[in-house]
Amino acid sequence: MKRRVPLIIVFCVSLFMVIQYFVPLDSLERVYRSFLDYTIIIGVFALLLGIWSLCRVNYDKIKRKSENWQYAIITLTGFFIMTIAGFLSGWGRTDNYLYQHLFSYVLVPIQATMFSLLAFFIASAAFRAFRARSLLATLLLISGLVIMIRFVPLGFLSEPISDLAGWILRVPNMAAKRAIIIGVGLGAVATAFKIMLGIERAYLGRD
């Protein structure tokens, strides 16, 4: 019961999803769309589990006074204020001052700044890893440099470099990406098969 029922569910649902792809029947399509809807709704229920986990972990931190417990208070305060803000305007509306401004002046700037940290990390990663240690590392280094140098005005060299960069992007780049995509495609199909047939069931736990 504990193990078999989930496996049967997986098999039936996935078989249905495969069949509906080939059979253009309205009834199947309707079920297909409802299935997708269901997964989204279940996802929201799962979010409650996530929230529960978030609150518990942070509450535990505060209770146990573990390291940096003060910051757990900030997380929980932020969470509850935003939640209240989300329900402040009444049924189905979030257009109040608090919610909108928390979004625009807290979420947006932090998010954009976190994202922009990438500019620094891409520089430090390049500095550290682009070293001519081996043939492969050297190839990585050279092709990276060729692409980056396109930006730097180099006079008469600019044109051949930009041509070479274009060729790298158009030819080897395409070949490698295709090989990866074909491999990923096969691997994904194999994994899907394994899940469908219950060979791969790590996701169900093992007890």
Binding site: A119, F120, I122, A123, S124, A126, F127, R128, F130, R131, A132, R133, L141, G144, L145, M148, I149, R150, F151, V152, P153, S158, E159, S162, D163, G166, L169, R170, N173, M174, K177, R178
Partner: protein
């Protein structure tokens, strides 16, 4: 030896600091810089394509991005449309991005005004450009437009029947526009290639974000005739139409940042090679 080792294992925070200072200086002093931009073939071919058209020819431009990618894609949208208006090419605009419609309407009006100010042309809605709006399911819309634009867009954004718009009279599908330019920030670019070009074989060019660009280079020459990638592409286009704007303003920072990174890579490698030599000598 000691010095070399220190360079090889330089604390990354020096890289961060240097980059920060250099980029902020370049940004603040952007007006005192002029960057010589090398125009690439993939951008030039779009420019040439538009340049070779006759007045009155038509382009379909699809703005498939939402406000979150606005900063990266608006500059190229502006540049292309300015070019079209200057040359008297008619523009049919569409968006396949859910949050794109308001933004596209705005940029169309802005660019029309800019073209009037800059080139003395006066693009009129309905005659020189029109905007048919947004429909969901990009793949289906792209397929449907290959049959007839009216399948998904019987009326334009302002609810006027397409046949009442002078520009759209006699424009059935991709056969009646000279090319399609998709300015996109997501998978819609793939849809344009797979469902648009592969199926209906219309000339297609793409404008994409910098991260996406490498994925679309492989299609150059077969599925797409031109490609504009991120700010650099937009700056090139601005240079081609001889009108420096947003993308060019960011270029000093870009060039300096690239130069910094390249420099650091060089220093790191020189240090690495020299230090390896000296360890070899010792051993």
């Amino acid at each position: 030896m000691n010095f070399l080792n220190r360079i090889v294992a330089l604390d990354r925070r020096w890289v961060f600091l240097f980059l920060f200072v250099v980029v902020s200086m370049a940004y603040l002093l952007r007006n005192y810089f002029s960057v010589d931009i090398t125009v690439t073939k993939e951008v030039k071919s779009i420019y040439d394509f538009i340049e070779k058209r006759n007045e009155g020819d038509k382009l379909l431009i699809s703005f498939d991005y939402d406000p979150s990618s606005l900063a990266e894609l608006h500059p190229m949208s502006r540049a292309i449309m300015l070019h079209c208006f200057r040359r008297g090419i008619r523009v049919v605009a569409v968006t396949l991005s859910q949050y794109g419609a308001g933004m596209v309407e705005e940029i169309l009006r802005e660019v029309a005004a800019e073209a009037k100010e800059a080139y003395g042309v006066d693009p009129q809605y309905g005659r020189d450009y029109c905007f048919v709006g947004y429909r969901p399911y990009p793949a289906m819309v792209i397929l449907g437009m290959g049959e007839n634009f009216r399948v998904f867009f019987p009326r334009d954004y302002y609810d006027t029947p397409l046949d009442s718009i002078p520009l759209m009279q006699g424009v059935r599908n991709y056969d009646d526009v000279n090319a399609v330019i998709g300015i996109t920030s997501g998978t819609t670019a793939d849809f344009w290639i797979v469902y648009g070009n592969a199926r209906y074989d219309m000339p297609l060019a793409l404008g994409v974000t910098g991260v996406m660009a490498t994925d679309y280079y492989p299609y150059l020459g077969n599925a797409i005739f031109g490609l504009i990638g991120g700010w650099k592409g937009a700056a090139e286009y601005e240079k081609l139409i001889d009108r420096s704007a947003d993308a060019n303003a960011g270029m000093p920072a870009q060039v300096v940042a690239h130069l910094t990174i390249v420099l650091f890579i060089m220093i790191g490698n020189i240090g690495y090679l020299l230090s390896r030599k000296s360890t070899n000598a010792v051993s």
